[in-house]
Symmetry: C2
Amino acid sequence: MARRGSYAKGIAKREEILSVALDLVATQGFRRTSIKDVADAVGLTQAGLLHYFDSKDELWVAILRRRDEHDNAAQWDAPDFAALLAAVVRHNAEVPGLVQMFVNLSAAAATDPEHPAHDYFRERYESTRSRMTADFRTMQQDGRLRADLDPEELASVLLAVSDGMQIQWLYDPSRDMAEHVELVTRLAMAQATTAS
Amino acid sequence: MARRGSYAKGIAKREEILSVALDLVATQGFRRTSIKDVADAVGLTQAGLLHYFDSKDELWVAILRRRDEHDNAAQWDAPDFAALLAAVVRHNAEVPGLVQMFVNLSAAAATDPEHPAHDYFRERYESTRSRMTADFRTMQQDGRLRADLDPEELASVLLAVSDGMQIQWLYDPSRDMAEHVELVTRLAMAQATTAS
DNA sequence: GTCTATAATTTGATAGAC
DNA sequence: GTCTATCAAATTATAGAC
């Protein structure tokens, strides 16, 4: 079934583009990667590639969205929320292309409301912050999290640490992003006596 | 003295360019501001403006450097380091052009070693981190800072929170950057019982 | 010190054929 | 679904005159 017209092929090609683009970004840098580079790498012309994505930025956003889906679907064997966040961040270090893309796009879209990724990021910050906030409230009721912290503020802070460490990591890959995130979660935990 | 050739005038014009550029960025957004826009605003042609700066990115970096100088020279009536950092961050909210510039350039330069601002940022992260680290060591000796924290890690984290909150603030200006930074410093202080 | 004029790309996007 | 051809185009950067 579905022999020609080949609906499935289109989907597969789209997927291929997404992962090849990601590799290219990781290899030659986000800003040095043009839509034409990606097209060449998947054996298409630039115009051919734009058949799959409306614009360059739409392509980048599609990659970010796919990452979100994977992250949400993944089983992060994490005992608690702090560990989960650290696990995600730790995983990011394995995908430098995504980090580059995230850092650059979130900055570009932040200062331009017309940017194709603006809404994506605004909504992403809002939704992850509110999801984390809810988790933190529960943890406070369970006595696992310090009661004197504002849950929403803490959520913001953790997102900020994670974003900020990505930048520092890009300048100096020897810095351990996950470890720094864990430092903050440790401080936020109840009876945080800290184990080194 | 110095009537013609007018050395002083060149300096003044340069200063004028720097501050007009900053205003433009704050008004119309970093990515929407071209070198020609700045030239128009100061009554120069684009080529005329490039007499003062070697390239567009050099102009941006010059603005950032000037900010650093001012910040370092300023008297931030701050009792301790935590308050100082918060004061700087709080001040940033008054200069949206600088925040936009910082966020965009630090991201762009992070993923491109050839970027004119790459070295500036790498060195800036390194030097501020090490200065903060030294401060924290002293504070630990004085018993003002929790002894179980790695001073350098804490320094990284605070820079990260500050950078990360700038991004969130650009997406949602109602979030208070300084307050979030203070949350972390509070947690790091010795006997952090927190006052709301 | 400032301008005119122009180069030099690069790169993203569209129209229409196959 | 993919290509050819072409546009749009915006900038940045440079050479050389005044």
